[in-house]
Amino acid sequence: MSKPYLRPIPFTWWNKNNAYRIFMLREISSVFVALFVLELLCFVLVASKSPENFDKYVEALKSPGWIVFHVVVLGFSLLHSITWFNLTPKVLVVRKGEEKLPDALIAGAHYLAWIVVSIVIWMII
């Protein structure tokens, strides 16, 4: 007789191993990244209204709470960037005859571009 047993999947399935945990953190990073760009909008709108607003905003940014928040956001945004660039070779397959460009080259090119873009933005501001 057949009575197949279905093993239930717990709500905490993502905590089962390292790979799943990092995956879940990677997904959650999108929340922090979104919160940050909204904060960036807020900064641009509020701090450019008046010199008093600007000074108050910068003062608030110095508080330990905000510094900690930004360090956490930085951590998540770095997790996003690193996991994203590392996955690019899986999506961008460039073939030359029988060979394909090595994974490290594809990912490396993205990392290089990332550094260049960051430097450019720093210089502009």
Partner: protein
């Protein structure tokens, strides 16, 4: 030291067994915790603990075979080639999907090894899972060369030729041995039973990328559906556990890009449709 029957060096007690008149050989042991389930009498599965001999060159499958031969003939599991090409012996070894013919005891010794049936599939008995859903999913993407009848060339014109470069575009995806480790590793395969899954989609890509195939549009009905590529969240564990380096995660992401380009083309350039 002397050699045991299998030729391995084992430590020997210098006190002989006077009754049987042999040297008493002591061997290292390893603990196996094996998932058991008997549908005819169990309402729940349970774990049974065994001691198996530890041999340097043994894999988990050897230990299971030894158990079945010496301790418990009722132990039920699938296996065949013992060399990683048939895809039969996939099981969870300490929570990781592995081919038991490729999981060496020495990599776990002296810790105990927990052996369970592949995750995300219903359990038939002991270590055997119900793989019907997997077989259906494989078939659903039409894993054969599809040709448009009107474009068939007669036999007299010879075979359809394929260059090494054309072969290279799909070769990796053709290496799948249908072992289902990827489905066991994929959280979506467990959470969404209708998810077509890594092996099936990789197989679909194998045919889509084959220069002799003309079935892309037909397969897209399944592959580009919500139950196929769009349920994948690129966890990537399928590729990590694959014993043949098929890289199903890569296949799925490439399918997403191709399907997205198709989608935009169909909206922005509808005159190009067949």
């Amino acid at each position: 030291m002397s050699r045991s029957q299998s030729g391995l060096l084992v430590s020997v007690n210098t006190e002989a067994d006077p009754i049987n008149k042999t040297d008493v050989v002591s061997e290292e042991k390893l603990t196996l915790e094996v998932f058991r389930y008997h549908p005819e009498k169990d309402s729940e599965p349970y774990f049974q603990t065994y001691e198996v001999p530890f041999r340097e060159d043994w894999v988990v499958l050897d230990a299971l075979n030894w158990l079945k031969d010496n301790e418990d003939g009722t132990l039920t599991y699938r296996w065949s080639c013992c060399m990683g090409v048939c895809g039969s012996c996939g099981m969870m070894v300490n929570g990781t999907p592995k081919l038991t013919c490729a999981a060496f005891l020495r990599d776990y010794h002296p810790e105990p090894i927990r052996v369970e049936p592949l995750e995300n599939f219903p359990v038939e008995r002991d270590l055997v899972v119900d793989m019907d859903s997997f077989m259906e999913k494989l078939q659903s993407i039409k894993p054969w060369i599809l040709r448009k009848d009107s474009e068939e060339k007669p036999l007299s014109e010879g075979e359809y030729k394929q260059s090494p470069a054309e072969l290279a575009t799909y070769k990796q995806f053709s290496m799948c041995i249908n072992c289902m480790l990827c489905y066991a590793a994929c959280p979506v395969a467990g959470l969404e039973p209708e998810f077509v899954g890594p092996a099936a989609i990789a197989l679909g890509m194998r045919y889509n990328l084959d220069s002799r195939d003309q079935g892309y549009e037909e397969r897209q009905e399944i592959i580009a559906s919500h139950e196929a590529i769009w349920q994948c969240t690129f966890v990537g564990e399928c590729t990590t556990v694959c014993p043949k380096n098929v890289d199903p995660a890569g296949a799925i992401q490439q399918a997403k890009v191709a399907s997205t380009i198709d989608w935009y083309k169909s909206w922005l350039m509808p005159w190009g449709q067949k």
